[in-house]
């Protein structure tokens, strides 16, 4: 029996200790997510990562609802990677709640019914005379009660019942309420264990010098100065897999992070970077522009015949939008611990994709999949970057080579210059207006396709060509085409919060604004006109109401944008005006989120607020610039983050309806940039078609 102290509320270090000992100590398993020990303590396993988006809150909040336990009393622990037990564990695509909630509700309810049945059996009474509440089962006629701990052993032996009726939404006690997050306490006293904070016995630290040109091999290296640094234990050549390519580097292993970092600085490496030398941003975008001019590309979507209309139209809009490569810039730089032990390797770190790590590392290291044991810590931000296998793979390679547990620490500079990045994109948008409405609409996009890296499969249009675009437009825009003009560079690219919606949204929703103005219509009204979908209509009404769109004054610019991704629709209105010194400033942002069924409204608001701040950085500050094959900006001194003084007031509203759950962590990002630039046009008459732009210079 464990000391009771181990089960104090959500203290991460305590949870770590629990994790380190045998899983049996969580008590009896009622299902993969729910364990209860004999004193009644409930432990819920989070099968997904917590990177700020609130899975650590949402999963227990859903389960506790049907399980009938007090949320503040449950212990939450991250499950190990085990997709046979938990299904897909990749935390990405804003998918945790929307893919799991029905199952979690059912699992909570099933466990509860088993506990009630166990009590009825013990008392030898009718099950229908018993009910569960607050971690106890009560016998209604007599008032007798058991706590769950007294029932769990019996309950676990019962056959899980089928066809349980789930609660009605109106009966929810927890779901839909802005309950305080279970991880806040440990995030205000420094005890939450992030990847970088994790320690295992006898662990060494490693820093790796990787090719600044994003690919290639080590030709030779001189480690004599590095080896002289106090604390440095070893220097070795290493590699890590980046999709289907490998990146080589030189690792310095030491007894502290600092010594490893110093050793790395002292290395002299000669690289073989054939094929990557002269790549520059200017050249990339020049090529994109050229291909959009001359090529038709692959058809992603086509209806009606826009070509004929373009040919015969007296006037046609034909414009180009441009968005930059982006870096994820998680506050916690990449890091990972690996401990290779011959027949297995155990990994700990800030990890979004345990499944993929198991797949990849087991293949690379020739181990059975279940011998790659993956543990998730808290993540200091993820945004897609930590849904990858390169950094854990590299840690495993190093641990194997030095035959010791090791934590590989990426410096901020490594994190910023090594990619993979969100691909830069260019869009050519053409449109014709007839009778105040869209007669023809055509978008051609050029930019790297993340899938090419992943699968190597080419020849198909980017499946995310219209990600972000509201589908109901397809009903009203009769002549429409969306083409992907294939575009390749050797820069590794990947998903970045809201993926292609983050760039598509800017093009599609800016162009919608341009079309509205061409039609002589109010931009909000124009969108409404082209939208037969009732759900979006309601969202537009809400946006109009909360923002005071109709009562806007002179000297105020208002802009709107509405996008959809990961099954949720978000509309935003930005208000801008000019400072006394004539500079444009953002006065206010209103956001309306329609994510259907939802768990915690406060988390949703926080996610939309955060998405807007990230969207602001992407709109006015951030671009990864390549010069001579290297990413130029390597720290926050030049890759400038929005700071507290840059942030306008933000109001977030959530639609209440009976729809299925949609995503929450990402859909709030795409509408911000176009809503801002549309507002700037409204104020100044200046159309911004290229991100990022300098707000101070508008």
């Amino acid at each position: 029996m464990l000391a009771l102290g181990y089960f104090w509320k959500a203290d991460a270090r305590e949870a770590e200790i629990i994790k380190a000992i045998d899983a049996d100590d969580f008590g009896v398993e009622l299902n993969a997510w729910v364990h209860i020990n004999t004193s009644g303590k409930v432990t819920i396993f989070s099968h997904r990562a917590e990177m700020g988006q609130g899975a650590y809150q949402a999963i227990p909040q859903i389960l506790a609802e049907e399980l009938e336990v007090n949320l503040s009393e449950v212990n939450v622990v991250f499950a190990k990677g085990d997709n046979k037990k938990y299904g897909n564990q990749v935390t990405g695509g804003s998918s945790t709640v929307r893919t799991a909630y029905k199952n979690l509700l059912k699992l909570g309810a099933t466990a509860r019914e088993m506990l009630i049945q166990a009590a009825a059996n013990k008392w030898n009474v009718l099950k229908t005379d018993c009910y569960a509440e607050g971690g106890h089962v009560y016998h209604r006629p007599s008032g007798k009660k058991f706590h769950y701990g007294e029932l769990v052993t019996e309950a676990a032996k019962l056959e899980p019942p089928k066809g349980i009726l789930l609660k009605k939404r109106t009966d929810y006690k927890l779901i839909g309420k802005p309950l305080p997050r279970l991880d806040t306490w440990i995030k205000t006293n420094g005890t939450a264990v992030f990847g970088l904070d994790k320690e295992i016995p006898d662990m060494l630290y490693a820093a790796v010098e990787r090719n600044p040109r994003l690919r290639g091999k080590v030709k030779s290296f001189d480690d004599s100065a590095a080896r002289r640094i106090r604390g440095v234990k070893d220097v070795i050549k290493v590699k890590m897999g980046v999709f289907s390519t490998y990146r080589e580097g030189v690792a310095v292993i030491a007894d502290s992070t600092w010594a490893a970092m110093q050793g790395k600085k002292a290395l002299k490496v000669v690289w073989d970077d054939s094929g990557f030398e002269h790549l520059s941003t200017d050249e990339i975008y020049k090529r994109m522009r050229e291909s959009l001019k001359t090529k038709e590309g692959l058809v992603f979507k086509k209806q009606g015949d826009p070509a004929i209309i373009f040919k015969n139209a007296a006037k046609k809009l034909d414009v180009i939008y441009e968005t930059p490569y982006q870096y994820h810039a998680c506050m916690e730089p990449l890091n990972c611990i690996a401990h290779y032990q011959g027949d297995k390797v155990e990994i700990w770190g800030p990890i979004q994709a345990p499944d993929w790590i198991q797949d990849f590392v087991s293949k690379e290291m020739n181990l059975p999949r279940e011998k790659v044991i993956v543990n998730m810590t808290f993540l200091g931000g993820g945004f897609g970057r930590k849904a990858f296998m390169d950094y854990p793979h590299e840690a495993a390679v190093i641990s194997k080579a030095i035959n010791a547990p090791v934590q590989v620490v990426w410096s901020r500079e490594d994190d910023a210059t090594q990619g993979p990045y969100r691909p830069g994109m260019m869009y050519r948008c053409e449109g014709v207006i007839k009778n105040g409405a869209i007669d023809a609409f055509k978008v051609k996009l050029a930019g790297q396709n993340n899938d090419h890296w992943r699968s190597g499969k080419k020849g198909e249009p980017n499946r995310s060509s219209s990600e972000g675009f509201l589908k109901p437009y397809y009903d009203t825009i009769k002549n429409l085409s969306i083409n992907d003009v294939p575009f390749e560079t050797p820069i590794p690219t990947m998903w970045w919060r809201s993926v292609y919606a983050s760039t598509n949204g800017f093009a599609y929703e800016s162009f919608m604004d341009e079309l509205a103005l061409e039609a002589g219509k109010d931009p909000l009204e124009f969108r409404r006109m082209h939208m037969q979908d009732e759900r979006v209509q309601k969202l537009i009404d809400k946006l109009e109401e909360v923002s005071g769109w109709k009562n806007r004054k002179q000297n105020e610019g208002y802009g709107v944008a509405i996008t959809e991704c990961f099954e949720s629709t978000v509309g935003q209105i930005v208000k801008v005006s000019r400072n006394t010194d004539g500079k444009v400033k953002i006065d206010h942002v209103w956001a309306v989120m329609d994510c259907g069924w939802y768990v915690n409204p406060d988390t949703i608001k926080a996610q939309v607020e955060g998405s807007i701040v990230m969207g602001l950085g992407a709109a006015v500050n951030h671009q990864v610039t390549f010069k001579d094959g290297k990413a130029v900006d390597n720290n926050f001194s030049t890759y400038q983050m929005p700071r507290i003084n840059d942030i306008p007031p933000i109001e977030v509203y959530i639609m209440d309806n009976e729809e299925e759950a949609g995503g929450v962590g990402e859909p709030g990002l795409p509408p911000f940039a176009p809503a801002l630039t549309n507002a700037i046009y409204d104020l100044t008459g200046k159309r911004i078609r290229k991100l990022p732009f300098n707000l101070a210079e508008v």
Binding site: E50, M51, G52, Q53, G54, P180, R181, D183, T184, W185, I186, K187, T188, N189, G190, T191, A192, V193, F194, L196, D197, Y205, R230, G231, S256, T257, W258, A259, A329, C330, M331, E332, P333, F378, L379, G380, G381, G382, V409, S411, R412, A606, Q607, E609, G610, S611, I612, V613, M614, N635, F636, S637, M641, P642, R643, I644, N645, I647, P649, I650
Partner: protein
Amino acid sequence: MANLTLNINNKEYRLDADPQMPLLWAIRDLAGLKGTKYGCGVAQCGACVVHMDSEAVRSCVTRVSRAAGKKIVTIEGLSENNNHPVQQAWQQIDVPQCGYCHSGQIMSAAVLLRDNPNPSDADIDDAMAGNICRCGTYLRIRKAIHLAAEMQQKTANG
């Protein structure tokens, strides 16, 4: 062999450290206190803020040798039971998302409130502009600092 003694959170740590090592890494790797975070290493983000003789310093650019003989307070030592007014306000408003920046945010805010018990929005922006939050929790930080100021005032008054 230990060559340096640090006083962290009123406890003496005898450490064997390269005098050039930044205080950040001595606190984290040698003293084993992991609440103080590494974000940039170049005084840009504030994730590493600790108190040194009651002033907020960026431990990533403070040499450990400079910290000897001084009183260091890290997030772990800010209060007895996670109940400094700033921590309480952070909890009430649910400020953190990923939480990684918040050790530094809280340590910066605590110094602000000591020096300026009733800060305006502009004062807050000034004092907190050195702390980056990639998750974008800034509006809640501002709100929580106002709340902490109120709580602090109440305790002082009664």
